[in-house]
Symmetry: C2
């Protein structure tokens, strides 16, 4: 299943029409060998094999382990030499000292790329680790092979049946994630997918001994499946090239960058993680700005930004209409939105009058933010809240509308679930019949009541499936929408 | 059930030994009449009655509604006059125009207080609303009654069987919440309780027509059941008195204040919400600081701060030892902690050597932040991660230890649940055998897989029941722990 509708993203691209063919081929191998495949289902050396089966990889899958005859139900080979041809791609899960032998054996087989899941190379900071990594790359190059890694999770390409994590979605989408960290890729892809963000590809590239951030960024710039690029980067080897490539990428599509190692302790962690030089934070700040990319401050903010860029048409300005629950909720929403940089104009009289005609008894609550408490108790909130949203969306006074229907308040007991469901469905209808960018707040489903959890997850999903950007709090919505608007205003 | 162990809170109080007797009596009525009780179980006029039963209120519960004979299984009275004596407390759910009659009828019955859930009075901004509210207060005073509200949810006093919300906990705790907004009280009490924060009392006081923030704050200052005070305030009528009362409160216990209406749009919302004057944000900033209270920036931050003040011994300094998952996770943790104001000293050699003795193969990962990826794959993470936490907790190099065991990473499949459970249990053991302040990160349970959600909720609960402050992200932990440390350093 592919997910391509992305309202906020230009459909034409100024980048080169053809993706980098070398990387395109690497990401679409005809067959894959997992060397160092394990018989232990808890080990990644087993899971890599299992994943190719589960994600429906169509080509040959060849586990290699001299001590096993079968792994994950597939025939196991005792050596890479015995694997059927063609062999395009190798995943190495062998320990670092066995990498030279693997590289030697793979020579002349026509292998295009080796993904070194193998770690404990240059990131160890030892002479031996650095030497082994350098030799592995040299041997690969000699045999015409490119290297991804070492010390990384490698490639997630759901459209081609490749994954490195069982809880990743099988569905593709328009976002590419380029991550120097495997752990961050694991967290980000899973968590973002719960908010309706799906991926064209995600690549964890670790020590970047051969193929590096600039190579993959060039590829994503020209990849027609990718319409938003997200990067987690700890350090680059060639800053000048990276600036050029990043600038080209940002001219073609939105590029969101999270830079790891901003602080002293962070830079120390970067050195032992991927043997990278973190570089000065000020230089990174100006590099990202100069390139026209968008900087994220952390993992959570990065996910929030992607939700905005993926699901929201860029609003034409900063004027926001807000609907939220409870008097304190409206005050809080107003404070949080203005602190984030958005503007809350007063509700125009024309909107107040439209509302008065429909709900003569409670129109006094019509303001910006719009306090839904009064209109909920007056008559069914599942009708009145969407009506308020519609009137705001149809008014020229607002560039964007954020609705917090306060579902948790509707959820005092399981009896209210149908009402909450109708409310979300009616809001979806309003959004679909309007051209105004809109977002919705649904508070997190980490609650102990099973019915509350289930309904929350169901409504979240229903909302983003219908194209609604969903946020757990007003603050996170406001900050990421502000980023989206500023990015488009700056261009 | 009462929950009184609060490590971070002084057990002796410098405040007056006796709580304000008038408010103490109001909060512990012998009987309660709900006037305007409804037969519709979805209406708050019904729910108030139901709640008194469900929360085990021991005194008389008297629904009043001339059109009903029974409400929520209790005998219903046609007028307040017919209710048995003594009648200490009235909850008014009648429409605003009926309040004068209620006040007249209640005269001379010995009623101590009337909680006006009734809204649409002064907050309407109309002459009529303001007049009706003024007259209601005058009539109450004349009859020797105090007023809570109008336009508020009233009192939550779980130890005395009084609540205004079905999903509030029946268990009491050491935190008092004073909220000018009913909606914020509803959200805060429920959400905080999921993180192990329970309440002595929560009071939603709305328009503050009679009893106001200063009265309740005086009460909480001297209330022996309250050890932390949290306030959501939109505006005060007597700023001089409030500063004095807030200063006294902050001398006795930690007081966390969220000020609603910081921005222009927020102040506008405040006026229509509780008819308050929001006041200048700068004045509030200096008032809170001068009083020695702690300012929260939003609802989420306020909850995070309460978790720190409730569950953490104040660390003696800013030096934090961090354990987190994945190389990128350690980089991110380091950046986020230092950006929050904490310091991450390098791991002392002595700790590295202790670790080397136990895990000679993977001690290279021993750093600060401590990258748990290597030690998890080396041998069972349920043993090695707690060992790393123990060594950090026992080192003089750190004032506080934050552990992100990356449970989500352990949770790739349901098969790993027992391991995740053992990991959390072992971390709890380390915390309980150490005097070092510690916190744990458990990512939110708003996930679609039922087993993952259930185990996450179970482990969150297990952790805070054992006294562990729990945060959904490293950033939220770091920022609230920083607030706790700075507050104690400033004193």
């Amino acid at each position: 299943m592919t997910d391509t509708a992305s309202p906020g993203i230009p459909t034409s691209s100024v980048a080169s029409p053809q993706p980098r063919q070398d990387i395109e081929a690497i990401l679409h191998p005809r067959s894959i060998a997992v060397v160092g495949a394990s018989t232990n289902p808890k080990k990644q050396g087993y899971i890599f094999v299992q994943l190719l089966k589960e994600f429906g990889f169509k080509g040959g899958i060849y586990p290699v382990n001299p001590k096993a005859s079968e792994i994950a139900g597939l025939k196991c080979y005792s050596s890479i030499k015995e694997v059927p041809r063609p062999l395009d791609y190798i995943i190495s899960a062998v320990p670092a000292p066995l990498v030279p032998q693997l590289m030697a054996e793979a020579q002349g087989m026509g292998v295009k790329a080796v993904h070194l899941f193998t770690g404990r190379l240059a990131e160890m900071g030892t002479d031996e680790g650095i030497r082994m990594q350098r030799e592995a790359v040299a041997a690969a190059r000699e045999g015409g092979m490119r290297v991804i890694g070492p010390n990384c999770m490698g490639v997630y390409n759901p459209g081609h049946g490749i994954s490195f994590r069982l809880n990743f979605p099988k569905r593709s989408g328009p976002v590419a994630f380029l991550s120097q960290s495997g752990g961050n890729a694991i967290e980000f892809v899973y968590r973002a997918s719960l908010r309706g963000v799906f991926f064209s590809k995600a690549i964890s590239y670790g020590n970047a001994s051969d193929l590096d951030e600039s190579d993959f960024l060039e590829y994503f710039t020209s990849d027609p499946e990718t319409r938003i690029i997200v990067c987690y980067i700890e350090g680059v080897k060639d800053g000048r090239r990276f600036l050029r490539v990043l600038s080209e990428a940002a001219r073609a599509k939105p590029v969101i960058v999270l830079k790891g190692g901003r602080t002293k302790a962070g830079a120390r962690a970067v050195a032992s993680h991927t043997a990278s030089l973190a570089g000065s934070d000020q230089i990174w700040e100006s590099l990202i700005k100069q390139a026209g990319a968008i900087r994220a401050g952390g993992m959570e903010e990065m996910a929030d930004m992607v939700v905005a860029f993926r699901y929201m048409e860029p609003p034409r300005g900063l004027r926001v209409g807000v609907i939220s629950g409870g008097g304190g909720g409206t005050v809080h929403s107003a404070d949080i939105c203005e602190a984030a940089g958005l503007h809350l104009p007063p509700l125009p009289d024309e909107v107040r009058h439209r509302f008065k005609a429909h709900l003569p008894d409670t129109w006094y609550a019509a303001s910006n933010p719009f306090d839904l408490s009064a209109i909920v108790s007056a008559s069914g909130g599942e009708l009145t809240i969407p009506l308020a949203a519609q009137f705001m969306a149809e008014s020229d006074a607002f560039d964007v509308v954020i609705v917090d229907p306060d579902l948790e308040f509707q959820f005092e007991s399981p009896d209210n679930q149908d009402q909450a469901r109708a409310l979300v469905e009616n809001l979806i209808r309003v959004k679909q019949s309007s051209k105004k960018p809109m977002a919705m707040i649904i508070r997190p489903g980490d609650v102990p009541e099973a019915w509350r959890w289930r309904t929350t997850m169901e409504l979240q999903r229903k909302a983003w499936e219908a194209g609604f950007p969903i946020y757990p709090t007003m603050g996170r919505a406001a900050r990421s929408i502000y980023s989206l608007i500023r990015h488009h205003q700056d261009r």
